[in-house]
């Protein structure tokens, strides 16, 4: 696909600005009524979904040229998809996120690159992860755990840790815990260890599509060789890319793809995992974009007039993973759940996505602080989420704000509730 494939989408924008707001029937207060971090932070139409479509159309039709300032506007966006979801409440014929992704690819092809993104891509090429950490250390998180090595043996469940979980020392306990929970439930689990690579989705979002395709190819062959029936990942980014991007690129993985919260929810419901420990805390839950609206599976492409497109092919964010994480919180003995105002497919982004965390850290942090404020407004005692990138930036924001709001990964909660955390410590 190319920017020109979305010309009608861009021409169709009526500049109604719905892309800037939570769908009107879901707004609960003026304070948390906006949905797009970019327009909310920079407050100029160009920074909205609509503004970027106008930019795209202008570039495509040769009415303006790409320059550093325009490219910066294109990159100051987390690609959270909130604008698309809001737009699709009213419009059937605009795929806004796709336009944003095409704009990124256009910038990259034209050489308008962010040096921070180049560093991520170089890190990917050198070390197969976006953090630039040594490839040889990727599997260190699993040391001492009785997990199969899929490079040598076949397994039933392939556990894909993802880049951040593999290297972030603060999340080491979480990723080990995820594997321990699967083992506790008696599953036959394998990992690729040091041979595990990034899913490549971040490269796709940054506009480096060729790089993304290389990784999809690599993972596809690895999954085939493992013989796994299920691929499970605690990384929401990875989940979204496996469910949507890979099939769209023609690289559908030949197994069931689950996010960790979905598998845990299944194991709890089947009685294979029991939560015993009391958790007398009131939680609020942050929907990661890549698990929610961006985690909606690939529904198939539609050629022709999008006004004729069947609703089953319209990607409006409603088929993301929303219930499993909430079920898990509610399954924690003694725990309560109170919702924020912007939830599910119209959730506010944590700020980490789309290369913003790396290129515009202040913007990323501002976005996360906004979310922490929303969480605090609920009166919750803790914030739970299900994505390592969200955990990272929300935890940092909560700390910066000196907010008394611990940020938990749902895996950590499950680990403690199942009483495994104590065993692991012993």
């Amino acid at each position: 696909m190319a920017l020109s494939d979305y010309q009608r989408d861009m021409e169709g924008c009526s500049r109604c600005s719905s892309c800037k707001w939570v769908p009107f029937n879901q707004i609960k207060s003026w304070r948390f009524a906006k949905n797009c971090p970019s327009i909310c932070r920079y407050n100029f139409h160009a920074y909205s979904g609509s503004g970027r479509m106008i930019i795209g159309l202008s570039l495509l039709t040769g009415r303006s040229e790409l320059n550093d300032n325009v490219a910066e506007i294109v990159y100051k966006c987390q690609l959270c998809g909130a604008c698309d979801t809001a737009c699709k409440v009213y419009r059937d014929d605009i795929d806004l996120t796709e336009v944003l992704l095409e704009l990124r690819a256009h910038c990259v092809e034209q050489g308008f690159l962010m040096v921070e993104h180049m560093a991520m891509i170089d890190a990917l090429k050198r070390e197969d992860n976006v953090l630039g950490e040594p490839k040889a250390k990727r599997g260190e998180w699993a040391e001492g755990l009785p997990l199969k090595d899929i490079n040598r043996e076949r397994c039933e469940v392939l556990f894909h840790a993802g880049c951040r979980y593999s290297y972030d020392p603060d999340l080491r306990g979480t990723v080990r815990g995820a594997a321990l929970l699967l083992l506790e439930a008696g599953l036959d689990v394998g990992i690729a260890g040091a041979e595990e690579s990034c899913c490549g989705g971040r490269a796709y979002e940054l506009g480096y599509r060729g790089e993304a395709e290389n990784y999809a190819e690599d993972l596809l062959s690895r999954v085939k060789a493992s013989g796994a029936r299920i691929l499970v990942t605690p990384c929401a980014d990875g989940y979204a890319h496996f469910r949507y991007l890979y099939p769209r690129m023609g690289k559908e993985l030949p197994c069931e793809i689950l996010h960790m919260t979905q598998l845990l929810d299944r194991l709890v419901r089947e009685g294979r995992l029991r939560f015993r420990e009391q958790f007398p805390l009131l939680f609020t839950y942050h929907d990661p974009c890549h698990l929610g609206r961006m985690g909606e599976p690939y529904l198939g492409d539609w050629k022709g007039d999008k006004l004729q497109r069947p609703m089953s092919l319209k990607r409006a964010g409603r088929k993301g993973v929303y219930e499993a994480p909430r079920n898990l919180i509610q399954a924690l003995p003694g725990a309560g759940l109170v919702e924020m105002e912007r939830i599910r497919e119209y959730s506010w982004c944590c700020g980490a996505g789309g290369g913003v965390h790396e290129a515009f850290p202040e913007f990323s942090s501002w976005t996360a602080r906004e979310r922490v404020e929303e969480a605090l407004a609920t009166g919750a005692e803790a914030l739970a989420t299900a994505c390592p990138w969200c955990v990272r930036v929300l935890r940092d924001a909560s700390r910066e704000m000196r907010a008394e709001l611990p940020v938990y990964d749902l895996v950590d909660l499950a680990l403690q509730a199942a009483g495994i955390a104590e065993k692991e410590r012993v």
Binding site: V108, G111, V115, Y208, R209, G210, E213
Partner: protein, 265 residues
């Protein structure tokens, strides 16, 4: 005055992209690239690394020289940040792929190099990853009347001379010549070091000069001598023969026999 090294750097589509990123458009006689960023030709990166190593030992300065249209500032910045001191970009909208054959590229680069005199050493990659012609370096040397050494795996400078370890199919030979000279560098030199993000940001302060064609002492318009007559992807032909036999063992034996006859094994 210290040693002045000029490194010629061509911007090419990332050669590490998957084959599906390259679309051969026969009607337009060009290859369209999708989803790939521009990068410095990897062999030119090797040349820059060789230059940085010389500078570390002998001192001096490095100028990065690139040529084309819409040159990516970010790509140049990253390369310069690795250890160059300045960049010069010969940039014009007319400098597209069709105009820039090896000869016209060499003519333009030689003219640009004359504006950078005095220089002691010109380094460039052995060939570019997109065209793989490997002619431009020698063309520039010819036009400037410089001695040229190709396929360097190690370059050292001392006492007004350059010593080059030159790659051969079964080892290497050492070639020495007086400066100024031009050396084309091979991958054996090693990858270009990766600059830190701080270094890349700091490199924005390094001098960068944009040169237009009318600034060069050449007669315009420049014309390509090479004409692309046709461009087509290679034809892939596959034939499938089924080996039939009563038992798997027999089939295996026949398969081995066929492979042997076809000189596959």
């Amino acid at each position: 005055m210290g040693l002045h090294i000029v490194v010629l750097a061509k911007m090419v589509p990332d050669p590490e992209g998957p084959p599906s990123s390259f679309e051969v458009r026969s009607e337009e006689k060009r290859v369209a690239v999708r989803g790939l960023p521009p990068v410095i030709n990897p062999f030119d990166e090797n040349a820059l690394e060789a230059a940085i190593r010389i500078k570390e030992r002998a001192g001096g300065s490095i100028t990065l020289l690139s040529l084309g249209r819409n040159l990516s500032r970010a790509v140049i910045l990253k390369a310069v940040a690795a250890g160059a001191d300045a960049s010069v970009l010969v940039e014009e909208d007319s400098l597209d792929q069709a105009l820039l054959d090896s000869r016209s590229t060499a003519v333009l680069l030689a003219a640009a190099l004359r504006t950078l005199e005095p220089f002691d050493l010109v380094l460039c990659g052995r060939q570019a990853s997109d065209t793989n012609a490997g002619v431009v370096g020698l063309g520039v040397a010819q036009l400037l009347g410089l001695p040229a050494v190709t396929l360097a795996q190690k370059v050292e400078v001392a006492d007004g001379r350059v010593m080059v370890e030159r790659v051969l199919s079964d080892g290497y030979e050492v070639v020495e010549c007086p400066l100024p000279a031009l050396v084309t560098v091979s991958g054996e030199v090693g990858d270009l070091r990766y600059p830190s993000l701080q270094a890349i940001r700091a490199a924005k302060e390094l001098p960068q000069r944009i040169v237009r064609l009318q600034d060069l002492e050449i007669s315009l318009p420049i014309e390509a001598w090479v004409e692309t007559v046709s461009l087509a992807p290679p034809r892939r032909e596959r034939s499938c023969r089924m080996v039939e036999a009563d038992t798997p063992a027999e089939a295996g034996e026949r398969l081995a026999q066929l492979l042997w006859e076809d000189k596959v094994v």
